[in-house]
C-alpha cells in the first residue's frame, strides 16, 4: 500500500512547492489534488498549468494518487436546478480530464446531497442516472469514479448494503466507492464496509472519528489516527481480507494549532504502523 495526503492539508504559508517538499520529507509516496479547494488547482486552471503541476509533483519525487473535489457540496449532481446539475457534471468531467493529465486513475465524487428541499428518492434517482454516462466517460479515459461515503454529511447511502445497491444500479465498472473510514461515525463499522465493497473500493481515506462526540460548534468529530474510536486492527485485517493494496490517503479535518508541519510527520508514521500491522 502507498501513502498519500491531500494538498488541501498544506499550510497556507507554505505554498504548493514547499508543501510538496514537506509531503515528500514526511514520507508520503503521493499527493491527492483537490480541484477547487486550493489556489493552484481550480476549474479555470488550464491543461498546460495542470501539466506543470504534474511536473512539480514528479520533480518532488511524488505522484498524484487521485483527484478529489469539494465543489460538489455547492454544486451537487442531485440538484433540482438543471443549470447546477450541468455545472456538477462539468466538474466531474474536469476531474476525469485532469486525472488523465496528472497520470492517475481515480477521482473522488460526492455523489449526492439530500436536503430538506431535495428528498432522498430524487437524489438517488438523479445520481444513478447522472453517474451512468459519467461512468462510461471515465471508463473510456481509464479512470474510476469513487463515490465517497459521506454518510451523515450528505444524509445519503448511509449503510454499506444501500451503497452496494446504489453501485449495482449505476452498473458501471468505472464507478466504485472511495471509502472514508472516518465518515461512518455511529452508523456502522468501517471494517464491515471494506469487507462488503472489496474490489469496488477505488481509494481509502484515513482519519479517526470520535463517535460519541457529534459535531459541536467548531470542534471536529474527526481526529488524528489512533486517537478516536475506529477499530484499526479490524480495519487493517479487512483490507488484507479483501486484498486491498491501493492508496491510503490521509484526510485530517482537525489541524494542529502549532507546528502544523508536524501533523504530516505524525500522520505518515501512523500510516506506516497501520500498513505494517503493528497495532
Amino acid at each position: 500500500m502507498k501513502k498519500s495526503i491531500g494538498d488541501n492539508m498544506i499550510p497556507k504559508e507554505f505554498g504548493f512547492e514547499r508543501g510538496l517538499e514537506l509531503v515528500k520529507k514526511a514520507g508520503f509516496d503521493g499527493i491527492e489534488l483537490w480541484l477547487g479547494d486550493v489556489p493552484w488547482f481550480q476549474m479555470a486552471t488550464s491543461d498546460t498549468e495542470v501539466r506543470e503541476l504534474r511536473r512539480k509533483i514528479e520533480n518532488a519525487g511524488l505522484v498524484v494518487s487521485n483527484v478529489s473535489t469539494g465543489l460538489h457540496w455547492e454544486s451537487p449532481l442531485s440538484a433540482r436546478d438543471p443549470k447546477v446539475r450541468t455545472q456538477a457534471v462539468r466538474i466531474v468531467e474536469r476531474q476525469i480530464e485532469t486525472a488523465v493529465l496528472l497520470g492517475t486513475d481515480a477521482i473522488l465524487v460526492v455523489a449526492g446531497l439530500v436536503t430538506e428541499e431535495v428528498p432522498y428518492n430524487e437524489v438517488y434517482q438523479r445520481c444513478v442516472e447522472t453517474l451512468r454516462p459519467l461512468g462510461e466517460k471515465a471508463g473510456r479515459a481509464g479512470v474510476r469514479i469513487g463515490c465517497e461515503n459521506c454518510n451523515a454529511e450528505h444524509r445519503f447511502l448511509i449503510s454499506p448494503r444501500e451503497f452496494w445497491q446504489f453501485l449495482n444500479d449505476v452498473n458501471s465498472n468505472a464507478v466504485g466507492i472511495h471509502l472514508d473510514v472516518g465518515n461512518i461515525h455511529d452508523t456502522g463499522f468501517a471494517e464491515q464496509w471494506i469487507e462488503i465493497h472489496g474490489p469496488r473500493i477505488t481509494r481509502i481515506h484515513l482519519k479517526d472519528v470520535m463517535k460519541k462526540r457529534g459535531r459541536c460548534g467548531d470542534q471536529s468529530v474527526y481526529t488524528n489516527l489512533f486517537l478516536g474510536d475506529n477499530n484499526w486492527p479490524a480495519i487493517r485485517a479487512a483490507m488484507t481480507k479483501v486484498g486491498y493494496d491501493g492508496w491510503l490517503i490521509a484526510e485530517m479535518e482537525a489541524r494542529y494549532r502549532y507546528a502544523r508541519d508536524q501533523q504530516f510527520y505524525d500522520t505518515a508514521q501512523a500510516m506506516d504502523r497501520l500498513i505494517s500491522g503493528r497495532l
Binding site: 436546478d81 443549470k83 430538506e116 428541499e117 431535495v118 428528498p119
Partner: protein
C-alpha cells in the same frame, strides 16, 4: 360439460359480434392513445416520469416529436419552456376535444427564457403566469408546507419541485395551490380541456412520488371521457 341451449346461443352471438368488429365496413372504437410529447433535452427527467408511470400502469401511450402527434385523448407536454414547436399540436388536440396537460418547465429557466415562455403562454393560450417563486425561500420563517395541494379531479398532496410559476387572475378553475398560491389551472378551450401545471408533476413521478402517480392515473380516465 353441460351447456344449455341459451348459454350456447349467448356464446355464439358474442363470438360473432366480436369477430365482426374487425371486418371492413364495421366501425372499430379503439380508444385514442395518450401522447407524451418530447420537446427538448432538458425535459428528460419529466418525460421519464410520465412515460415510466404510464408504462408501469399498462396505459397505451405514444412518445413522439411535436410534428408527429396523432389524434389522441390526452396530450402531455412535459417541462415545456419554448412552446412554439408544440403549439400546433396543442391547438389541434384542443380543437379535437382532447385534454392537454401543459407542464411548465420555466421555473428554473433563466430570465430571457422565462420572459419568452410567459409571452408565448399569454399570446397563444391566454394563460397568464407570474415570475417563478422559490417555494422554500418564500416559506422560510413560517411552517414549511412543501406540498402542492391538488383539489381536482381528486385531492392530493404532491411534493413541490422547489420553484413554481404562480398563476395570475384569469378565467378557468384553479385546481392546485402551494402555500396558498394558485399554480395549476383547468380551462375549457374549444371542445377540449387545457390543464396548465405551474408546478411540474413529471419529476415527482420520476422520483416515485406515490400521490403524484395516483393523481395522474386516477385522472387519466376522466380526461379521456
Amino acid at each position: 360439460m353441460h351447456m344449455t341451449r341459451r348459454t350456447f346461443l349467448g356464446y355464439a352471438v358474442g363470438a360473432v359480434t366480436t369477430g365482426l368488429r374487425g371486418l371492413p365496413g364495421t366501425r372499430v372504437d379503439m380508444p385514442r392513445p395518450v401522447v407524451v410529447l418530447h420537446l427538448s433535452q432538458h425535459a428528460c427527467e419529466s418525460v421519464a416520469g410520465y412515460t415510466g408511470t404510464l408504462a408501469k400502469s399498462g396505459t397505451r401511450f405514444l412518445h413522439v416529436e411535436p410534428a408527429l402527434v396523432p389524434r389522441c385523448s390526452v396530450l402531455i407536454v412535459p417541462a415545456a419552456i419554448h412552446i412554439g414547436p408544440a403549439l400546433r399540436a396543442i391547438v389541434t388536440c384542443l380543437a379535437d376535444g382532447a385534454t392537454v396537460i401543459l407542464e411548465s418547465g420555466a421555473a428554473f429557466a433563466d430570465e430571457a427564457d422565462f420572459r419568452a415562455h410567459r409571452a408565448e403562454l399569454r399570446d397563444c393560450l391566454q394563460v397568464h403566469v407570474d415570475a417563478p417563486v422559490r417555494l422554500w425561500t418564500a416559506s422560510s420563517g413560517r411552517q414549511r408546507l412543501p406540498y402542492v395541494d391538488y383539489t381536482w379531479p381528486h385531492s392530493a398532496k404532491i411534493r413541490d419541485f422547489s420553484r413554481a410559476l404562480p398563476l395570475a387572475r384569469q378565467p378557468g378553475e384553479i385546481i392546485a395551490r402551494v402555500n396558498g398560491l394558485p399554480v395549476c389551472l383547468k380551462r375549457r378551450v374549444g371542445r377540449g380541456t387545457l390543464i396548465f401545471l405551474g408546478s411540474p408533476l413529471g419529476p415527482a413521478l420520476w422520483a416515485g412520488d406515490a400521490e403524484a402517480r395516483q393523481w395522474l392515473l386516477v385522472s387519466l380516465p376522466l380526461f379521456r371521457q
